[in-house]
Amino acid sequence: MSSDHGHHHEPGFIRKYLFSVDHKVIGVQYAVTSLVFLFIGFSLMMIMRWQLAYPSAPIPFIGGWLASAVQGVVDKTGTLLPEGYNALGAMHGTIMVFLGVVPLAVGGFGNYVMPLQIGAPDMAFPRLNMASYWVFLPGGIIMLASFFVPGGAANSGWTAYPPLSVTANVTGTNPFWNGQTMWLLGMIFLITSSLLGSVNFIVTIVHLRVKGLQLFRMPFFVWAQFVTAFLLLLAFPPLEAAGVMQLMDRVFDTSFFMPSGLVVSGQLQEYSGGGSPLLWQHLFWFLAHPEVYVLILPAIGIVGEVIANNTRKPLWGYRVLVYSIIFLGFMSFVVWAHHMFLTGMGTTLSTFFQTTTMIISVPSVVILTAFLLSLYGAAIRFTVPMLFAIAFLPMFAIGGLTGLPLGLSASDIHLHDTYYVIGHFHYVVAPGTIMALFAGIYYWFPKVTGRKMNDFLGKLHFWPTLIFMNAVFMPMFFVGLQGVSRRLWDQTSYVTGNETHNWVKMSSWGAWMLGLSQLPFIINFFYSAFAGKKVAANPWAATTLEWAAPSPPPHGNFPEVPVVYRGPYEYSVPGSRQDYSPQHVPDAKLA
């Protein structure tokens, strides 16, 4: 096994599990950390939903604890404060996007699976890989710690629009010891981590593929990670620059984003002035739109893998899919200002951005169509990962389609910054991406642990999750169509907000039930990790290279360096004696 390489001696516990340079250990570290963050981010939202459903009522169960434990979130009776609501909202967004989904999809799955799928012994820069994780973790901890500083966590939204983000959270005397500044510092850590990771991913994918694995024989998941890495590499630096500038605005009283003559709470602000609040928005969305595709592309990649494996036929239009995601990745850099139609955009720029937005919808339609056509003529096995993967398709469709009214500037006038927006992007990232991530967990769990997750618990997890996801987010469209603004602590004082309040209650109950529905998953996860059914190296009868390695793969991954003979999804090849032809098995052995 791994001792074939000669002088390997077993590293100690710290080198093996804590400061490991093995991509598999780092992948698991990322995955477990991000699952914890996802849980925290989700919990914040469940608290917010109480205030939305029952305005000004004390939070049950945890209200008293929150009053004593954290700053500025609830009052003495345990009722959520408006600034606490804003803080939870800002942190929910930040945690879910930057600490939950991306680290799980890229840091976790990407790190663990991608090198295996290309037959590499590790990432190109193993120590850099370790550094990525150990820069990511402090970033996350700084974010969470900001709940406990004077004034509480950042409360200017995950978009942190100045001047609000510059004038908010300034109660403390120390310029660094407050929520928004810590948010910025945390972001700088997270961005640095992502940059290190993306360099590593690209070099690994380009340089470390085994013999025979040409670009168009790479599994679709690897392609998705490849495009994602480019998005991270080129889109994140502008936010880092913007973060530094906002930090200077907060700490050194500069005015990059501060116009002259602001009067905040009756006080004339003593800034030199001349800055532009729109500058932040441009730099922020220059990252944050590609970031949307960073959230969705790995998910699409996972769905592609799972669908191909469980339809037992080649993925329909593999090349078309690859070209589509490359095109998506490219276009995602030139659509960002559709988030800014209402900042006073004139006709020229709105024409440009709504046209690019309509163009970018086309590859998404192509991807969805290709996945649907993959089902045609298949022999679909309804395994647990497959259930999640096929549920992804209609959910992603809803998320994508509802983007159209927001992408056209005229209909955006009515729908901009309403609950419709929240419904739209959550359909993409929650019932969409999260479903795909669950599919990935169920699918690759046997590779990581050598054990399969329990099927019954898996189905008990799937059905309520699917139902309650929709119960949470579908009502938001109806609330949004009525024009109710988002981020309102209490919407019932508005006529349309009052009218639609029952929908809000439905969302809230959906969210709490969705929380309960995760119990089977948590039980299943720990139970199966230690006592699940042991399975062989290739339990799903899959074709890609990760299944050629033992489960769990040893240090160095492959006892024998594999050679690739064919494309990634050669299922049900006529004349073959089994219904799958693994990439690394020569033709002679299959006939």
Partner: protein, 328 residues
């Protein structure tokens, strides 16, 4: 329930129907696509499920229809984009009304809307950040230094406009980014500090007419315990008719009176089964961009008046700030 067309709130603007139509067409288009995909999806899941004796096909299906569908999608998107969205946006942005519009300044702040009318001279007085006093002079109007400021009218949170006349709102902000949103008027525009951004609309219905259209008949609670939640739910509503009969023959709830716990209790006691109510201020101004902890209470009211009533109101204002108090 609101009178909803396409599940949208009532539209009382002259330009809103184009936006509503676009939203409606888009949703029909989306629904057709979704149902089409859905039928194919479900068909595949049933027809091609794994079972004994059923094998997957290796060769690709030839998918001509899907190509046609994709081309159709592109074509429809292009038509909606070029045919509706761009022209609507152009008129929303580039064609300010020429026909004697009412021009007002709207200065947003945490957490209120200050409306600045130029007064009879049609000229806005100069404003200075230095002169801002949150109680007496929220927009920093230079009443002493600038003669044009003398007749200016400043109103807080109550935005009076005449029905049937174009209104141009010049939006600016004192502190952070806000967003001026009036869903019923299909108007929304971010307010960016450091610059002025115009937006315009024409209301085709007055508040009275909107209230009339929004009148709903609701069943009164039957049990004591439900009275308070009912009154709370309808705390912004007024009665749209006389209900119940008191000892002296007067109605227990008179038309235009607020819905309160007491009136509801009296009505319930008098065995009145249902009442007609409508929001007192049916046309809300919301802030659509997170602007701080009071974002949720940055609630303004449009007071859309008949032209005569508007002129009367404007004349009655002698330049003092009028405070809008939200009755609970």
């Amino acid at each position: 329930m609101l009178a909803t067309r396409y599940w949208l709130p009532p539209d009382i603007s002259s330009h809103g129907s184009a936006i509503d139509n676009l939203i409606a067409y888009l949703h029909v288009f989306m629904a057709i696509l979704f149902v089409g995909w859905g039928i194919f999806f479900i068909y595949c899941l049933i027809k091609f499920r794994a079972r004994a004796g059923h094998l997957a096909r290796y060769d690709d299906v030839k998918a001509k229809p899907s190509k046609y569908a994709e081309v159709l999608v592109v074509a429809i998107e292009a038509v909606l984009l070029v045919g509706i969205s761009m022209p609507v946006w152009a008129s929303y942005r580039n064609e300010p009304p020429k026909d004697d519009p009412l021009i007002v300044r709207m200065v947003a702040q945490q957490f209120a809307w200050n409306i600045h009318y130029p007064g009879p001279d049609g000229k806005f007085g100069r404003t200075e950040p230095k002169l801002v006093n949150e109680i007496s002079n929220p927009i920093g109007l230079d009443r002493d230094g600038d003669p044009a400021a003398a007749d200016d009218v400043v109103s807080i949170n109550n935005f009076h406009v005449p029905k049937g006349r174009d209104v141009v709102v010049r939006l600016s902000s004192k502190d952070v980014i806000h967003s001026f949103a009036v869903p019923l008027l299909r108007v929304k525009q971010d307010v960016i500090p450091g610059m002025e951004i115009p937006v315009w609309f024409k209301a085709v219905k007055s508040n009275d007419e909107v209230r009339e259209a929004m009148t709903t008949t609701v069943a009164l609670p039957t049990s004591e315990a439900d009275i308070e939640p009912f009154a709370h739910k309808h705390r912004g509503d007024v009665f749209m008719g006389d209900f119940g009969q008191g000892a002296a023959g007067q109605p227990l709830a008179a038309r235009g009176g607020w819905v309160t716990k007491e009136t509801i209790a009296a009505l319930v006691q008098a065995k009145v089964v249902e009442v007609a109510v409508a929001p007192k201020d049916p046309v809300n101004i919301q802030c659509a961009q997170l602007c701080g902890l009071g974002h949720y209470r940055m609630l303004g009211q449009m007071q859309i008046l008949e032209p005569d009533a508007f002129t009367q109101w404007l004349e009655s204002q002698t330049g003092g700030a009028e405070e809008f108090i939200d009755d609970e």
